[in-house]
């Protein structure tokens, strides 16, 4: 079974919405996708024994628009506590390992798109990040199992 592509982000925060834009591009190509402002959706998918390809914007990931494949250990898990705001990706993966075990948590692949940290509300992607949508979609599609 192909993996579910999960786009994480916030369209109103400019480049932070790139994960959602990539998910929409893949939905248009027939992939099963989800869009979310946080990573809690990943837990439900893992519990349902699905493989997940997560696409999210990454700060401190290099020049804006750089597409990177990440593993869970690459993510900074600072003292960002679980709150009712939702789960960060690192927290969701740590929780998945705790609740469902490492083999299940390993069913998550992560595609990151480097962005500059958003400083204000904005709709739309910057040119550098917009140019990364297609390469990120191609990488996510190959990790998801092609189509």
């Amino acid at each position: 079974m192909t993996a579910v592509v999960v786009g994480i982000g916030q369209l109103a925060a400019g480049d932070d919405g790139v994960g959602l834009v990539v998910a929409r591009a893949l939905a248009a190509r027939g992939f099963e996708t989800r869009e979310s402002a946080d990573a809690s959706v990943v837990l439900a998918l893992l519990e349902a024994e699905r493989r997940v390809v997560l696409v999210d914007a990454v700060v401190d990931g290099g020049a804006s628009g750089t597409v990177i494949r990440l593993v869970a250990g690459d993510l900074a898990s600072g003292p960002t506590p679980l709150s009712s705001h939702g789960l960060g990706v690192a927290e969701a993966l740590e929780l998945a390992r705790t609740l469902y075990g490492t083999p299940i948590a390993a069913r998550v692949e992560i595609v990151g798109v480097a962005i500059a940290r958003p400083t204000s509300t904005a709709i739309g992607l910057s040119p550098a990040v917009a140019a990364a949508v297609e390469p990120a979609a191609v990488l996510a599609a190959s990790l998801a199992g092609g189509r």
Binding site: A37, L43, A44, E47, P79, P81, L82, S83, S84, H85, G86, E91, E94, L95, T98, L99
Partner: protein, 432 residues
């Protein structure tokens, strides 16, 4: 005079941003200020000049945890102004939608946000390491609640299928019946969870609260009822403004509220339970009795158990509503726009949520007032902390800080509703 100060950079597990300053003089807390510095949200001003029919969708954005509450209060208030009554299956679907929100909001708070306080864990991640089965169970219950909201609302957060007068589309029987196995499993899980929660150590603390909630003639309140209290308030929701006044305090972007002539009050699951325990389903009543929660309870820490009982109730009620569901002929009641003022109170998970709209003849909003539960509970939270002096004085500063945070979380405060992390400032005044 020496002053001891603790700075906690992040008070986690609340929704929104704020800070607390406590000043202790021996066993007395001489000052308690819950400073909510979340920027003002300005939703009331945003509604002016917009179509009254936009109120549910606009105000739903106030909160990602309880958007249904905002949609329900907005719908009922606008319908009140337009002279529209929504009954029958549409009314029942709204109740089902609210059950979904109570389930997801309550279980998130009880297990992920509040249980760590009782068990002495710093966060939910540590709780998950020690009690993975409980966290898995809670996620399962939450999923059942989310499924209701997604089925009726079109999506889990900020549902898009709700409108003044009813829904854009109503589900068929089979769509709702498909939710039943998940809800029944969640109900069993919620019973186990409540029994687990009841084993927590509850601090001995009580106050003579004025508990305020809705009360309905024959059902546990959600969307309708009179506003009643444990100190004699018994009013139609249209009298809200005459009895409950909001006022600004210099240190918070959320308005405080008080009952005219009496002062602060507490709204939320404990107030609802205390005044409506006789309206619970037999299963929820039995669960409350099993864990020793009765209407005489005035211990805010035991609000956790009231949430647990309400979770069982909401699951029970959702199952009942779905089993009895016959799809309505129309997805919504037709509206005739007219000028007027409409008001409504509905039961958000955290307490009563009041909306009032003044609407002109073109159907545009001239004025809006929204009183969220956390805003209304603010002064009561401060008064809890003021009364906790003797309990805090015997603790180390670190333990006292944790206990103060624990007490704030009794109310499941939703700070961005009421106006996001809490920075805690705790001062100990030494005696001269």
């Amino acid at each position: 005079m020496a002053t001891r100060t603790i700075e906690v950079a992040v008070l986690a597990r609340v929704e929104g941003e704020g800070a607390l300053t406590l000043v202790l003089d021996g066993e007395a807390v001489v000052d308690a200020q819950l400073r909510l510095f979340e920027p003002p949200r300005l939703f009331e001003a945003m509604m002016r000049g917009r179509a009254c029919t936009e109120a549910p969708d606009v105000t739903a954005r106030i909160c990602g945890i309880c958007p249904v509450a905002y949609e329900m209060s907005a719908c009922h208030a606008v319908e009140d102004a337009l002279g529209v009554t929504v009954g029958g299956a549409l009314r029942e679907l709204r109740r089902l939608l609210y059950c979904g929100e109570w389930i997801e909001s309550h279980v998130l708070h009880m297990v992920m946000l509040h249980a760590p306080d009782f068990l002495g864990f710093p966060d939910a991640m540590t709780l998950a390491k020690h009690h993975p089965e409980r966290v898995r169970g809670s996620l399962g219950i939450k999923k059942a609640g989310n499924a209701i909201v997604a089925t009726l609302g079109g999506r889990e957060i900020h549902p898009v299928n709700i409108k003044v007068g009813g829904f854009y589309r109503t589900p068929g029987r089979a769509e709702l019946s498909a939710l039943l196995p998940g809800l029944r499993a969640a109900r069993d899980e919620a019973e186990d969870m409540l029994d687990w929660l009841a084993t927590f150590p509850f601090p001995a603390f009580e106050r003579d609260y004025e508990l305020v909630s809705l009360r309905h003639g024959d059902e546990y309140p959600m969307n309708e009822g009179r506003l009643v209290s444990t100190k004699g308030l018994d009013i139609d929701v249209h009298e809200f403004g005459a009895h409950i006044h909001e006022h600004q305090v210099p240190y918070s972007t959320a308005l405080h509220a008080q009952i005219v002539g009496r002062g602060s009050y507490q709204s939320g699951p404990l107030a609802r339970f205390v005044q409506n325990a006789d309206r619970l389903s037999p299963r929820a009543m039995a669960a409350a009795a099993r864990v020793g929660l009765d209407p005489a309870c005035r211990n805010p820490f035991r609000m956790l158990l009231a949430r647990g009982v309400e979770t069982i109730y909401a699951l029970d009620e959702a199952i009942r509503l779905i089993e009895g569901y016959t799809p309505p002929a129309l997805a919504s009641v037709p509206l005739a726009i007219r000028a007027g003022t409409g008001q409504a109170v509905t039961c958000a998970p955290r307490g009563i949520l009041y909306h009032r709209y003044v609407i002109d003849e073109a159907g545009l909003v001239e004025d809006a007032q929204i009183a969220p539960p956390t805003s209304q509970n603010q002064r009561g939270i401060e008064e809890d902390l003021l009364a906790m002096g003797p309990m805090l004085a015997g603790l180390s500063l670190e333990a006292a800080t944790r206990r103060a945070e624990h007490a704030i979380r009794n109310y499941d405060p939703c700070i961005s509703c009421s106006t996001h992390f809490l920075t805690l400032r705790f001062e100990q005044l030494a005696r001269p």
